[in-house]
């Protein structure tokens, strides 16, 4: 479990970025961290794997206080995928890029490369194994950066804006990957502004951060249906919520759900249509 306890943080010459933030991420949780630009999301993510140390309060990862442990120790437990994939590429090809973290964990050359190829396959990047990372497209670079951290098999994975540059198919594949990790008992913290994708993710919890404070925490339905909360974080509700609001305003009583399938089925039944399996077309 990751426990953030009353953490305050500020950079050397600036205002407070995080103010009395408390948060818990349990094993197997998929948590969405959302908020307006500059609300402190990335800073909070960097506090979780020890890249930044809290000025007050503490962050405890599986019983380890991040102030007392190095990033090298903590990165075995908490994997962090930065927003800009270019910030981590240096190897001559994609396979070597993925193998880098594995070698840092102590794996031998052959073992690391074999594992790297298997991870590339999982991410649909196997054909780029011997391609320089900078020759990949933006979306592929992003996937490679996730793959290179995923390969280290951290217990907690932090994804900073993972959907940037991803097409619909890859966004769906990302959801499958996240839930694959969840099934393995691993927790994933996703930082995103992509409300539509976030509403489809089916996270266990959504945390809203605004001006360095946690202003709301709850299940996706409670957060995404709260217009005032979303507006205070410069977020717009997903289309399913808008659709629900418009239907309700016109006297249509439909279930409060982020799933289009549920809404469609309810409307179809009211109009005398037939029921279909939720979510399928």
């Amino acid at each position: 479990m990751i426990s953030v306890e009353r953490v305050c943080f500020w950079y050397s010459r600036g205002a407070t970025v995080l103010d009395d933030v408390s948060l818990t991420i349990s094993d197997g949780d998929v948590v969405l961290l959302m908020g307006e630009n500059g609300s402190g999301k990335t800073t909070l993510a960097k506090l979780l794997n020890g890249l930044l140390k809290p000025k007050s309060g503490r962050v405890v990862v599986d019983g380890l206080d991040t102030r007392e442990h190095s990033v090298a120790e903590l990165c075995r437990i908490v994997g962090y995928v930065p927003q800009n994939p270019e910030h981590q590429f240096f190897a001559e090809n994609a396979a070597e890029e993925v193998a880098f973290g594995l070698r840092n964990l102590g794996l031998g050359d052959k073992e690391a490369l074999d594992e790297a190829l298997s991870v590339l396959r999982k991410f649909g990047l196997e054909r780029y194994a011997s391609t320089p990372p900078w020759q990949l497209s933006g979306g592929e670079m992003k996937r490679l950066s996730i793959a290179s951290v995923y390969a280290m098999q951290p217990k907690y994975l932090i994804l900073d804006e993972p959907t940037i540059g991803q097409d619909a198919k890859q966004k769906k594949a990302l959801i499958d990957l996240i839930f694959g990790m969840k099934a393995e008992g691993k927790a994933v913290l996703v930082i995103t502004h992509d409300v539509e994708w976030a509403s489809e993710l089916g996270a266990d919890k959504v945390v809203l951060l605004s001006k360095g404070k946690v202003i709301a925490e709850g299940v996706p339905e409670d957060i995404f249906f709260n217009y005032t909360l979303l507006k205070s974080c410069n977020l717009v509700p997903p289309v399913s919520v808008d659709l629900y609001a418009h239907l309700s305003k016109r006297g249509f009583s439909v279930p409060r759900s982020l799933d289009y399938g549920v809404l469609a089925e309810s409307i179809a039944l009211k109009l005398g249509g037939s029921s279909v399996v939720s979510g399928s077309i």
């Binding site: 960097k46 190095s70 930065p82 973290g101």
Partner: protein, 245 residues
């Protein structure tokens, strides 16, 4: 991890200190004088004279004592290297100390100048010196991008540390190799950024007119500026006189 916070010492601080309110022309003359004297003399006595007569008063005027201290702390390894290498090759303690001090003087002078001079003042100053605009623009843009590049370098360090990179691990050769995962992305990102900047400038017609006009230039020098200039000349003369005694 290595922190790049020392680069903040070269960032413009705003019009906060008395030094930052001085015209860039006399400040440039002071910088050049201190630099030339520090390079021209190699004795410890001369370096100490430059530090005491020329550098310390400007640090006081700029109110940058704490910044200078943190700058010296974060670059102490470099100074130790300069001192150590000189001592190993010359076995002359006084000379080695002088070389270390020379580096300190140069770094502190540049930090004091850039910390107290806005890039637009620099640009006006260079234009006044009849330096071609493309050179002025390139130079001031490079200065302006230092904090951005430092921030990007810090992000790269964070990204690599998150994958278990430990710079201080292993033998000397291993430690040097540990820097490759930092240097390659820093270089690639810098080159990419320069291409993006060039394209952005060209798409906004940069270089369309050969002769540029300036709406504003440097204002005439005030009494304080002239006093600063006179003090710089007097300081330089005092250093030359005392050093040759």
């Amino acid at each position: 991890m290595v922190a790049l916070s020392f680069l903040a010492a070269f960032e413009y601080e705003g019009k906060l200190s008395r030094l930052s309110r001085v015209d860039p022309r006399p400040k440039l003359i002071w910088l050049v004088a201190a630099m030339v004297l520090s390079i021209a003399y190699s004795s410890l006595k001369a370096q100490l004279l430059i530090a005491v007569i020329m550098v310390l008063p400007v640090i006081a005027l700029g109110g940058v004592a704490s910044v200078v201290l943190s700058l010296l702390k974060s670059t102490s390894l470099l100074f130790a290297m300069v001192f150590g290498l000189n001592y190993v090759f010359t076995r002359d303690l006084s000379f080695s100390l002088a070389m270390g001090l020379r580096l300190v003087i140069l770094v502190v002078c540049f930090a004091s100048f850039f910390r107290s001079t806005h890039t637009s003042e620099l640009s006006d100053l260079m234009t006044k010196l009849r330096i071609p605009f493309y050179v002025t623009f390139t130079f001031t843009t490079a200065i302006r991008f230092i904090p951005t590049l430092a921030m990007e370098a810090q992000e790269i360090m964070d990204a690599q540390a998150s994958r278990g990179l430990e710079l201080e691990r292993g033998s000397l050769l291993r430690r040097l190799k540990n820097y490759i995962p930092l240097l390659v992305p820093i270089l690639v990102c810098a080159i990419r950024r320069s291409y993006q900047l060039a394209e952005a400038l060209e798409s906004r017609c940069f270089g369309y007119t050969k002769k540029r006009t300036m709406a504003y230039g440097l204002p005439p020098m005030s009494k304080t500026d002239w006093m600063f200039l006179a003090a710089s000349v007097a300081q330089s003369a005092a250093v030359i006189l005392l050093a040759s005694m």
